[in-house]
Structure formats: C-alpha cells, structure tokens
C-alpha cells in the first residue's frame, strides 16, 4: 500500500519530470508528439475528474436540501438548473448553433450564462473604486507616494488629464516603464527562481507534502 501511495507516485513524478524538463531542449518531432500525448492523457484524466467534481457538488447541495439549512432553496435551484441544462444540451447535441440557427443550449448560454458572467465582471468596476479609495488614503508616507504616483498615472492616461497637465504623460510613462517594470521584473526573477527550485524539489522527491501526509513517511 505504501508503494502505491508513496513510492510509485514519486517514481512517476521523477521520470516524467526529468523527461519533460529535457523535452524543452529536444526539437525532434518525437518530443512534440510526446507532449501532445501527455496533453491528451491530461484531458482524459480531467474528464474522469469532472465526474468526481459533480459528485462533490451534488453531495454538498443534497445535504443542504436534506437538512433544509438556511438557503437550501438555492441548492434546489442548482439541481433544477443542472438537469434542465443537461437535458437541453443533449437535445441540442452539445451545439450552440446548427446551420446558423441558435439551439436551446445556445439560447440558454446567451441569455443566462453570458448576462450572469457579465454582471459579475462589471461588479469589478465598483470593487476597484472601493479598493482604490482604501489604498489611497494617505495615512503613511508610502501611501502618500502611492497616491501621488496613481494620480499622475491616471492624469497621464486620460485625454482630459493630458490636456490639463501636459507633462503628466511623460511622467506616467516613466513611472510605468522604469519604476513599475523594474519592480515587476525583480518579482518575476524571484518567481522564476522559486518555481525552478520547487520543481526540482518535487522532481527529486524532496518536497512531497503535495502527496498528503508528512514528509518523512
């Protein structure tokens, strides 16, 4: 059992990790075919995993309906929506349009999913405003610098700002191209080093906490 839970996954991780690290340096079509095959395996595994996800969703919401916890009606809506969408989807053959005509699934997608997604995304504008208000309260010298930089960048990026403060565009560009880029690159270098280090630890089996349990087992 320990072999299946610990040694076999570590061996697979090592072999696949080394193989696909070297794949980057091999331009031969065999290398490309290998990565295409693995992508297909991933899709197959994801297909099975989706069933796992569905079981999880139904279990969580079934318990809510059964125990009639507050808001259990929403869980019922989820079941109804899932059944209706699946039924319409099968009847539409999984297509949103057939010969240019919108199917039932296409109608559901355009009139339910798209507006709902758009609503969630548009809320972001208000959240940015409230987050900016909190960030720009100049309570410290750092927040003051942030506030001044933000005002200059905002003025430099909108036509009215450029009209009122013609120099703001140059300063905004300098802030973005020099200060902002330098910091972003520093973060990205750190991220890259950390990413390679973690990958090496995982490939060599030094970091194995992601398999569950302690590292010493």
């Amino acid at each position: 059992m320990i072999f299946l839970k610990r040694q076999l996954p570590l061996a697979i991780t090592f072999v696949m990790g080394v193989a696909f690290a070297f794949q980057y340096y091999i331009p031969h079509p065999i290398s490309e075919e290998a990565i295409t095959s693995v992508s297909k395996w991933m899709q197959i595994i994801s297909g099975f995993a989706l069933a796992l996800g569905l079981v999880s969703v139904f279990h969580v919401h079934w318990v809510k309906v059964k125990r009639q916890v507050p808001g259990w009606g929403y869980s019922l809506v989820l079941f109804v929506a899932t059944v209706v969408t699946a039924f319409v989807g099968f009847r539409s053959g999984g297509e949103t349009t057939v010969d240019g005509v919108k199917t039932g699934l296409g109608w559901l997608y355009d009139n339910m999913m798209v507006p709902l997604q758009g609503t969630m995304f548009s809320v972001l504008a208000f959240f940015i405003a409230s987050a900016a208000y909190r960030a720009f309260r100049a309570r410290s010298s750092e927040a003051g610098v942030l506030l001044i930089s933000a005002v200059v960048v905002m003025m430099g990026r909108v036509p009215l700002g450029q009209f009122l403060l013609p120099w703001s565009w140059d300063i905004a560009q300098w802030l973005l191209n020099v200060i902002n880029s330098a910091v972003r690159r520093a973060i990205l270098i750190g991220v890259s080093m950390g990413s390679v280090a973690l990958s090496v630890k995982i490939i060599l089996g030094i970091e194995r906490a992601y398999l569950g349990g302690g590292r010493d087992q």
Binding site: A21, Y25, S56, M120, I189, M193, E207, A209, Y210
Partner: protein, 406 residues
C-alpha cells in the same frame, strides 16, 4: 549652374554601382536547418557591397538536378542578414552580417526529411540576371537544440547549487530565515477563527495541478490544516479543479491524522464548485457573506476574480492572507488583504512553516541563484553599454551566454 549639374551627374554615375558588376552570390550553401524539428532547409551566402533594394534574389528549388526548378521565394538582395541575437556564437550557421534564409515546408513546395533537394539562386537587376551554382541539402530533425545549451548548463548548475545547499543545511540545520509577516500571521488567523467560532476559508487559486503555484498552495494547505486540526477549527476549501480537489482532500486528511485528530476530519471540507471563473467567484463570495469566515487564505494563481474575492472578504471583516505569483493581481491583493506573500514567498512558505532543514536549505540555493542573476545583470549592462560606445561586437561572446535562444 550647368557645370554644377554636370558635376552632380558625374558624381551620381561614379556613386551608382555599375549594372555590369552583377555577379553570382559568393559562398552559397544549402544546409539542413540547425536545431529544428526537420522539414526545412537553410541557405547561406556572403554579403556583398553591391547588395541593394533594386537588386532581387530569387530562390529556386527542385527534387533532382535535372528536374524543373520552381521559384519558392524572392526578396531584395539587401535583406535577410544574420543579425546579432539571431543565433548564439556557438550555433550560428553563418557569420553575422552574411545572408541567411530559412525555407520551411509549404504547400507550394513540400520538404520531406531524409530526401535531397537542390537549390539555386537567381540574382536579378533590370534585365540582367545571373544564376548561382546548384547546392544540395537534406532536411533532418535534430535531437538537441544546441542554441539552448547555455540554458541547460544553467539549469544543471542551479540544480547542483540547490542540492549542495540542501546537503549543507543537513550538516548545519540552523539556517537563518528572514521574517515573513504573512506566514507569521497564519497562526494568528487560525487562533482568531477559533476564538470567534467561525471557519477558515482556503482557496488554492484558479490553476490546475500542472502549475507550480497551485502545488505550493496545496503544500501550504497541509501546514494550515495541521494547525486547524490542532485548534479544532472549521475548514472550508472550495475548488475550481476536481483534480486539485482530490489532491487537497488527501492532504487535509493526512494533516488531520498527523495532528492526531483524524476524528475531526470532515470529508466535505474540500468541495468542488465549478470550473467557470465568475460562477466560482459568485459562489465563494456567497460563502463569505453567509458564513462569514474569520480568516480567508488566497494562495495560488489568480486572474480577474482576485479583487472580487478579496474585496468581499474585506467587507466581512475577515483577516486575509494572500500569496500569489500572478504579478498582475498583486496590487489587488496588497490593497485588500492584511498580508500578501509576493511571488517567491509563496514557494518559500512550505519551508518557512515546516522549518525542515532540507526545505530551508533550498532557499539558500535560490538566494545564490539570485545573487548570480544580479551579477549577470550588472555585468551584462556594463558590457552591452561599452560595446555600443566602442562600436564593437566582441562582448557578444559573453552576452550570448546569458541570452535565451529558441
């Protein structure tokens, strides 16, 4: 005035290369394109002072020297030069400044591997033309991209440094780690949740298990789950990816066992919501507003949902700790969360929380790698600047070593 015009005309005649000087390209060669997947050929020939826009070069190909040749490309003779940065000095098919043309397989003229092809150039200007010699080449795929040899050497060297650092940390486990406020606050956040009798919400980001940041998030989840089990606090981990959910279920379960509280483990602490970005966000926002977790953890990679999640969490008064390598989302996390693990701190969290010498040792290895990169940045900037000022390409031999070639 007339004299000046005549002088100008004479000058122009002297300046203009004589049309009679048209000649075949020197050093013309056809070869298999180096470091590629096959099905392509490369042509090289010497640059000439007579190259100019008015003179064109046509490439003609055939499957045998006797078969009719077919025109496959045409371009002005003063184009298609090898420029600095196109190839590293150890893998360049022709000297910098000379002509280089890559011919890929196309519908008009398919190129097969292992089959010889015959190529010749036609140089034309006005009604004059001259043919080159016929060159032969066979396309073949390559097993190693020599242009990326520097990359491989650095990866192997960095791996060696990491392993040496781990060995050093095993001998001397007392490695100093700088304080990371966000990770110190983990204990505080869990304690606060316990006192308030509210659950902890832990998100592993939008990535799958093929992303390093998601793996880092699952590793931190293991450490958080141990503390949660110890304090007997509630834990909720909603997921966007069923595979990540399955992995996290196992991690949390094992953490409860490791903490000696297998009885406290709840199977449904990890649950799948949906893989759709905004549906997931709406569901998690709903959990935050209904159940009011006392602590929210946002680890892993995030996209536009980051602010929607953290701003909602902030409105509920929860203590929020984020950790991400998604640099575009960092400003949102820094603004709305109490603590943010920036970039590599996310990867270091496992070592920091567990304090295991083997993991801590790798952090020293990373620091050595960063010191090396900083040295290269300073050296490269200095050499490139001197190279431009002195108008010399001699420093390219050093600079090429640190460039990423495809």
């Amino acid at each position: 005035m007339i004299l000046a015009s005549l002088l100008l005309l004479l000058l122009l005649l002297l300046e203009a290369p004589a049309l009679a000087a048209i000649s075949a390209p020197e050093g013309f060669l056809a070869l298999d394109t180096p470091n590629d997947a096959g099905k392509s050929l490369s042509l090289v020939w010497k640059a000439s002072p007579a190259d100019r826009a008015g003179r064109s070069v046509q490439v003609w190909m055939a499957e045998s020297p006797d078969a009719p040749f077919k025109k496959v490309a045409e371009f002005p003779s003063n184009t298609r030069y090898v420029k600095p940065g196109d190839f590293p000095w150890w893998a360049q098919p022709v000297s910098k400044g000379d002509h280089y043309v890559k011919l890929a397989s196309s519908q008009a003229f398919p190129i097969e591997d292992g089959k010889p092809y015959f190529v010749k150039l036609l140089v034309r200007e006005g009604d004059q033309e001259v043919w080159s010699e016929v060159a032969e080449a066979t396309a073949a795929p390559n097993m190693f991209n020599t242009a990326q040899a520097n990359n491989l050497v650095f990866v192997v060297a960095f791996t060696g440094i990491l392993l040496a650092s781990i060995a050093a940390a095993r001998r001397n486990p007392h490695v100093h780690l700088r304080r990371i406020a966000g990770l110190d606050a983990v204990e505080e956040a869990i304690g606060r949740s316990t006192e308030m009798g509210r659950p902890i919400l832990y998100l592993t980001g939008s990535g799958g298990m093929d992303e390093v940041s998601t793996i880092a998030a699952t590793v931190i989840l293991g450490e958080v789950a141990k503390k949660v089990a110890h304090y007997d606090t509630g834990l909720k981990v909603p997921h966007r990816d069923p595979i990540v959910m399955a992995v996290c279920q196992e991690i949390v379960k094992e953490s409860y066992i490791a903490a000696g509280r297998p009885d406290a483990y709840k199977e449904d602490s990890n649950f799948f919501i949906t893989s759709d970005q905004f549906s997931y966000t709406a569901a998690v926002d709903g959990i935050m507003l209904r159940e009011k977790p006392a602590a929210n953890f946002f680890m892993g990679s995030y996209f536009a949902e980051s602010l929607l999640l953290t701003e909602t969490g902030a409105s509920t008064g929860a203590i929020q700790i984020a950790g991400t390598d998604s640099d575009h989302q960092l400003p949102f996390f820094v603004t709305t969360c109490d603590y943010t693990l920036i970039g590599e701190e996310l990867y270091a969290a496992s070592a920091y929380l567990s304090r295991e010498p083997v993991l801590v040792g790798t952090l020293r290895g990373q620091d050595i790698g960063k010191a090396f990169i900083m040295s290269v940045l300073v050296l490269g900037t200095a050499l490139a600047t001197v190279g431009v000022v002195a108008d010399t390409g001699i420093f390219n031999y050093v600079l090429d070593l640190f460039k990423d070639f495809k």
